[in-house]
Subunit: 176 residues, 2 copies
């Protein structure tokens, strides 16, 4: 339409934009960085990671199994990452910042993907050991199967939430 | 520039397009569906999945451990998926089809993500058990640690390749 009507504007008045830039529409997507949904996901990840960590650490001889030591390390990393991102989200929500900087979003995507992969790896390795103790060896009498199962379940829940964050952030990076 | 020169074209001759659509540029990305790179990734996934499957199945008592049974099931699923996608890629390359249909790409993304997750889960669960047998219990004399380690390594390699396919396809879906 603009082609058939040459633009005539008073000096200093910018021409009206017919189409808003796509980032305005994307702001509506709850779950992306700097949204209430995104903050909820981060707080959920942090809470489940802390529960999983506490469950494993409360078992006296957990350190005899490498997979559980790895689970503890992965949960520490995951909780620190989620807490950091939650603080950034709170800052962005309070001061109305958009967090759409390309470098920042790339950093979020890489961090989310790395922690999601490490968390899933920890959950699966621990689940393998728990199923071995419980089903294959039937040795729950000498081991704390219940606590291990809670730890594995909360680790899987952490992974579900961090994967959701990853998808939202990766989509944001790809469609910027 | 077009604004100052009104378009005057003979009937039947379409106006020249100043900017080619973005999908022309994306075709160059090796690794996406219907490219030689994409086909190589699929064949690599299939080969590593078959090696992993063969290694575990060659051990007589692998079925006593649930994690290894799950590894076998995951490798069967992964090899079938990768083989199917490889055949689709070969078809697309031979008949010069683009495979940029929205529904088809969504199906590839979902399939890649599901098989990548199941493959990583199988690799980590088996790695947890292998490390338990080898490092924590020191029971390699009674078990086939070497074969388990090869199976776990090839499963991780399968996961690396399927993850690369997933990223290429997800990027294609997000930027279509």
């Amino acid at each position: 339409m603009d082609i058939s009507h040459p633009a005539v504007h008073p000096v200093g008045v910018p021409p009206a934009e017919a189409r808003p830039p796509p980032r305005v529409r994307m702001k509506e997507w709850q779950g992306m960085p700097a949204t209430a949904g995104g903050l909820t996901l981060r707080l959920g990840q942090f809470s489940f990671a802390v529960i999983s960590f506490t469950m494993v650490v409360s078992i006296s001889n957990f350190s005899t199994v490498t997979a559980f030591c790895y689970l503890v390390a992965a949960m520490v990393l995951q909780s620190l990452w989620s807490l950091t991102l939650a603080i950034i989200d709170i800052y962005a929500l309070l001061w109305k910042r958009s967090l759409r900087n390309s470098l920042l979003v790339s950093l979020f995507v890489i961090g989310d993907w790395v922690t999601a992969t490490l968390t899933l790896a920890a959950a699966c390795a621990s689940a393998g050991i728990t199923v071995l103790i419980d089903n294959d060896l039937g040795a729950c009498a000498q081991n704390h199967c219940g606590r291990y199962e809670v730890a594995v379940s909360t680790t899987f829940l952490t992974w579900v939430l961090i994967t959701m964050s990853f998808f939202f952030t990766f989509w944001l990076l790809a469609t910027r």
